[in-house]
Symmetry: C2
Subunit: 457 residues, 2 copies
């Protein structure tokens, strides 16, 4: 139990308006989107660097665990304070410090909401590409902690590809600057990339320097329907090789199409078994030229149906089937277990088949959709948490799916992180020796295991 | 002094054709392109993973330093065995293990020459973009160890952006797999990115999995001449913002232009003070459309002269002024000290001015050229190593330049690494606390400091 003295000290240093131990605060910051929960003993909202430093120093002195947190919309329990202690909530450090149009970077505090940053940089003709599905609520700090992905990664890469530099505090309150303000920098070890995706277990990030690129001025959206995911995959491989260069390649398999068409009461071609949303972006002439080649390729291929959005309303209509997956499937069962496995893109069809067969074998409802260009398959197991037998079958089926993913050289998580929900599967992806290296690195930064303890391994 | 028993053991395990202690071998593997030298006691050429494992185990047992080495063309002394021991030379592990056109990756041994890989993947319609200037001799292993850059980084990124996964041996001979075969992978700590650019000080890389992308089918090259570098910089900023999207943006300042025009005996407009080579690549229609916008932009701007290469011969001619910088300037002095500082791109003009003023102040010949898109300025100080006074002035001037670079948020090295030549300047870029973190990470991997000891810090 945390000593009252600690709260007093923090209140004195940070101000009473930043330190809370009331039940409603503890509950609010006890869970994330994975549905795991554990109460912190204290909730602290740093407003500036000095607040972070003070909090860490005091926590370090008293051996109190610290769990940094953005918007708490992660899917792996990464921001759940499972050992109690202090929840360090960054929502009040939400300033965009600068957008530099001459040097193509932005400096932001960790609590900036991703979508807000995108809006601000786009006003200046610049572009911050990473677009995790949660972008309207999730924070840049959270995105960096998980190395979040999104829809545009095949063309533009993930969050980590846009982080030029980080300022961060070590567990004892010491500060480090890693990376810089430039694209090329090979001085010293790449601690910046080590911190990205380390889920708040190595250091507390206080400032982020992000690379910006010119905003592509033009976009087109298409939907391609196929009689099988296999035919879709062949088409996409050809499309990639012919340099049609999509920025988005979202696929939905039979399970998610059925759910959405039913939910939206849309008429459905009975042969429709897979759909792919394709976005092209860039200069207008170029996008139109690639769109023409795409439509020629459609004519020469086994595409069931093809829609090219011409108006904003049509764009919305095409996106709506993708956006309505979540509400559509939430009717099936009270809870969705959302996994984010990755396989090499040539293995997507096989992987989807494997997962569908596994779902049948264990009598489960699994809804699949994902990002074709990077092999990231969102695997949603629909469950009733009160159905013990179903939960047991889910556990066994997921275990089988994770082992399969590793057997085809994939990853157990492409976007959400390990947190607490995927700890048990780490052994499939990593040897004892590799886990040992992770632990040694952890000790190099946080010898007393106070920073977000109990996560990853 | 290494015990003879060690050589005998290695000969027995690896074969006599892979283990050498003759003087000519020791001398051959004692230096790199920085001109630093130090003899190893033994040269070992691993042919396979088992050879690496055996060598490391024996070295670890006898506490013998190991210095991994690719082609030895680095500019920072990174592969010089400054504490003797074993030079572990990867030139015989030079196989391309697979090029997977369905999953868009290649698996290679560390000794594959970068250019050879590019040739092989291009035959299959794919592209491995990183192109360090040394690509015809340097190896992928060396490129990964230094996180090499090149000319195309503004559009395509550096070596590290193309490394999906690594297999590597720890100092005691244990093996780890880090990263994977997919673009998105956030499981565990990003040890892959930590090893990239770690200059052989953390682990010995034995296999590299590289991302491939579709080969852009079309390219155009242009040369733009300016009456000042400032005018060139304004033009380039506008070109970037208008999405003309260059793949190459090589600039030469007055010093390198004067040297090359004199060397090639070309007539020179007396107003010509800066030149920029611009390459556009992509689909043909798109490149031509951007080329048209580029030429319109030229008409509206203060460009002194503008050349668009139409034939292979003209492309060669445009490149020749860039390629002849090295032979041209080698006439000035016996030795070139080649630094690779980086500044934010909006600071290039100011940085070039600062360096030119510093050259004047200390009576030095400094030739400048570099990569405009990423702010990487190759700073060549031409010296006579026997001129003690000049060497002293060079030391003071470089120290001043490095401090300046850090003051404008740049980096002391963008491509070459720290090795031994930039150790003294690390203190400008990193605080004691940051260096301490580097050392802790080093100890987590190599507690007895046997892997490429004496480098970076």
């Amino acid at each position: 139990m945390m000593h009252k003295k600690v709260k007093k000290q923090l209140e004195k240093l940070l101000g009473k308006e930043k330190v809370f131990s009331q039940k409603e605060y503890l509950v609010t910051y006890s869970y994330d989107a994975a549905g795991k929960e554990s109460l912190p003993e204290l909730v602290v909202f740093p407003g500036c660097e000095e607040d972070i430093r003070h909090t860490l120093r005091i926590a370090y002195e008293h051996k109190i665990p610290i769990t940094p947190r953005g918007a708490g919309v992660g899917y792996s329990g990464g921001s759940v304070p499972i050992q109690g202690g202090i929840a360090l909530v960054f929502t009040k450090m939400n300033k965009i410090l600068c957008i530099d149009t001459e040097n193509f970077y932005a400096e932001v505090q960790p609590g900036v909401v991703t979508y807000n940053l995108q809006q601000e940089v786009e006003k200046k003709g610049l572009f911050y590409p990473p677009d995790p599905a949660s972008l309207k609520t999730s924070t840049i700090g959270g995105n960096v902690a998980e190395n979040a992905g999104g829809l545009r990664c095949f063309k533009y890469g993930v969050t980590g590809n846009y982080v030029l530099g980080l300022e961060a505090f070590l567990i004892d309150g010491g500060k480090i600057n890693v990376g810089s303000h430039v694209i090329k920098d090979v001085a010293g070890y790449n601690i910046k990339s080590l911190l990205i995706g380390s889920e708040g277990t190595l250091a507390v990030i206080s400032k982020i320097i992000l690379r910006l690129i010119p905003l592509p001025p033009y976009r087109r959206l298409f939907r391609l329907d196929f009689a099988s995911l296999g035919k879709g995959a062949e088409f996409i491989n050809q499309m990639i090789k012919e340099n049609i260069g999509p920025s988005v390649l979202e696929f939905m398999d039979e399970s998610s199409i059925a759910a959405v068409f039913d939910y939206l009461k849309l008429p459905k071609n009975s042969n429709l078994k897979a759909a792919v949303l394709v976005e092209l972006d860039g200069n207008k002439g170029d996008v139109e030229e690639r769109a023409q080649r795409l439509s020629r390729l459609v004519k020469d291929s086994q595409v069931l149906d093809y829609k090219a959005a011409e108006t904003e309303a049509e764009i919305e209509e095409l996106w709506s089937i993708r956006r309505n997956i979540s509400p559509a499937i939430s009717k099936y069962k009270p809870k969705k277990i959302n996994e984010d496995i990755v396989v090499p893109i040539g293995k997507i069809v096989e992987a989807v088949e494997f997962i569908n067969n596994t779902a049948k074998e264990y009598g489960l409802t699994i809804i699949l959709f994902g990002h074709f260009g990077d092999g990231n398959i969102h695997t949603n197991v629909m469950v009733d948490p009160d159905d013990e037998d179903e939960m047991k079958r889910t556990e066994i089926a997921l275990d089988k799916i994770f082992r399969y993913v590793i057997s085809v050289k994939g990853s157990i998580t492409g976007e959400h992180g390990v947190g607490i929900t995927k700890k048990a599967f780490m052994k499939y992806q990593f040897s004892d020796r590799e886990i040992e290296i992770f632990k040694r690195v952890k000790r190099a930064f946080d010898p007393e295991n106070l920073l977000n303890p109990g996560k990853i391994f």
